[in-house]
Amino acid sequence: MSVGPRDSKSYKTFTWFNGTFLVLLCGFMLYPFVTVLAQSFSSAGAVKAGMVNVWPVGFNLTTYQVVIANDLFWSSYRNTVVYTLVGTTIAMVLTTLLAYVLARRALRGRNVLIGIAVFTMFFNGGLIPNYVLIQTLGLKNTMWAVVLPGAISVFNLLVMKSFFENMPSELEEAAQIDGLGWWGIFRRIVMPLSKAVIATMILFYSVAIWNDWFAAFLYLDKQELFPVTLYLRNMIAGASSTASQGAAASGSSTSEIAANIQAVTMVLTIIPVLCIYPFVQRYFVSGIMLGSVKG
């Protein structure tokens, strides 16, 4: 920033307060994470009594053992992994192909295609017609109901499109002269140069699918198909059998163990997101900027 050499005294005071404020803000942002983590390592009684804040009380790993030993938890977790992998792959293929095509400025009918996509951002079919469609297509109680409907996010599509548009056209021209067709250019020139935007999109899609619970809640009735978020939701809503199973295992009452088990399940659900997030972070900032500058 162009503040200049002569910083006033009052500005220095401001800087000081600003720094303090931001540190406090970080604490405020992180506190819920830290508590959940601390609770996951604490004894059930301490959690129930509200004794756990930022540090585990009565440190133990029993809750982790109880959760990990639960078959339903594991099948849910595995489902989430599968849904995320399959869903992200489908979404990436569809989005990338369409974005590449829409980025050809002279393509005939391009504006119509863009219009078709953009209109869905402002108007949508709504809950019930979507539900009826999924039911009619026979996708209920299959993983496709979770994985397919969200496959193209128009926002992501526009981000990719403007990224492709901003690529130097000389590269593609050179490739054409060397005899590459559209497909060849796409695969051998555009893809390798788009790692940043691809990484961003993979992050966006996979996090969205990993975190989603509502599609599963709507379209899946069978417990063995549930993703872990839905499993967790049912646990929070008190409808899951896990809590009582866990309680039975450790010999305490349902409500006592529930908070503990919830904390562990939450931690295990968040961890993968937290693990990939720092690595892709530097990409998504530029990604989201690209998309917003020209929608």
Binding site: I128, S169, G181, V207, L232
Partner: protein
């Protein structure tokens, strides 16, 4: 693939009889601009298809996807005016006219949830729109790079959480033994069952919404801030503007287009107040303030199996949303000269 394409190109060459040299693929002519257009225009669709069929083929599946999963439900809204029978046509079985529309317009419950939606949406807009701007301005004053980056990373974090997790955390923090009540009791207050009290729902909802979105919202503003012309600050300083006046007269006008764009987007999403979060967070005790249009139509439609009625409500909501975003865009183009399209 490339062989087939080469064949297509060869055909193009024969038809078009271009000047010497390679035939550029059609979609690449952008740079030649308008001058090149008339001849391109005269070429028929058949020719275009022959030349660019690879591109159209690439777009085929994604476009079919959009038509099936986005447009079919849009037309499925017709069941708001037709009676839908489970297992029947997805477009309904017989016309019933405005019956369902009249039904919800005369439904006192509907107007209650509509008011809740407007209040909740309004509060969210009031807090979640300006706070990222404030945070971005504060972050912008930080000149220790690493510190700035750490604060940013931490503030984005909640954006990547599932609603289920957020609600789970809220329930623990706000429970009778939770941190918030511990603090209240420490200062001599009495524990409040936040999630069972209708009068607390809006605070809880908006508060958690701020926590989740404020950091993410700063990304665009921080980017916009870097584009503000540095010489303007110098000029302002020479004119005797202090830090605060520089912010007011240079920085804020500099990021105004971004602010307007995001405001339009927010207004357009006004009625879509966090359906999933409300659904997870509310309970019969808090329906009074928490029930919004989308949760109401969820209960009417999928819990009570009244598909046509719920579709009528949903269509109404979607149309209001569309009108609002179009109006906001129109107004901002007229008034500020910045718009989404």
């Amino acid at each position: 693939m490339s062989a087939a394409h080469a064949a297509g190109d060869a055909l193009a060459t024969t038809v078009q009889a271009p000047p010497a040299g390679t035939v550029p693929l059609a979609a690449d002519r952008e740079d030649t601009g308008k001058k090149a257009r008339p001849p391109v225009r005269k070429i028929g669709w058949r020719h275009t298809l022959r030349r660019d069929w690879v591109l159209y083929a690439m777009a085929l599946v994604p476009v079919l996807f959009l038509l099936l999963f986005r447009y079919v439900p849009m037309f499925g809204n017709i069941i708001a005016f037709r009676r839908f029978r489970p297992g029947g046509s997805i477009f309904g079985d017989e016309w019933v006219g405005m019956r369902y529309v009249e039904l919800f317009l005369n439904d006192p419950n509907f107007w209650n949830v509509f008011a809740n939606t407007v209040i909740l949406g309004g509060l969210t807009l009031l807090f979640c729109f300006p706070l990222p701007i404030v945070l971005a301005l504060l972050l912008n004053e930080v000149r220790v790079r690493t510190f700035k980056r750490v604060v940013q990373s931490i503030s984005y974090l909640p954006h990547f959480l599932s609603v289920v997790i957020v609600v789970g955390m809220l329930m623990q923090l706000l429970s009778l033994q939770g941190t918030v009540n511990q603090i209240i009791e420490a200062v001599g207050g009495e524990a409040i069952p936040f999630l069972q009290r209708a009068e607390w729902f809006r605070t809880v909802y908006v508060g958690s919404e701020i926590w989740q979105t404020v950091g993410w919202g700063t990304i665009l503003y921080l980017a916009a801030l870097t584009t503000v012309d540095a010489s303007l600050y110098e000029a302002a300083r020479i004119d005797g503007a202090n830090r605060w006046r520089q912010t007011w007269h240079v920085t804020l006008p500099g990021i105004r287009p971004t602010m307007v764009t995001l405001l339009i987007l927010n207004i357009g999403l006004f009625l879509n107040v966090g359906f999933e979060k409300v659904l997870l967070l509310y309970n019969p005790l808090t329906y009074e303030t928490a029930d919004v249009v989308s949760t109401y139509l969820y209960r009417v439609g999928l819990v009570s199996n009244n598909f046509s009625y719920a579709t009528a409500i949903g269509l109404f909501q979607a149309i209001i949303g569309l009108v609002m975003i179009l109006t906001a865009n129109f107004l901002s183009r007229r008034v500020v000269g910045a718009s989404l399209w």
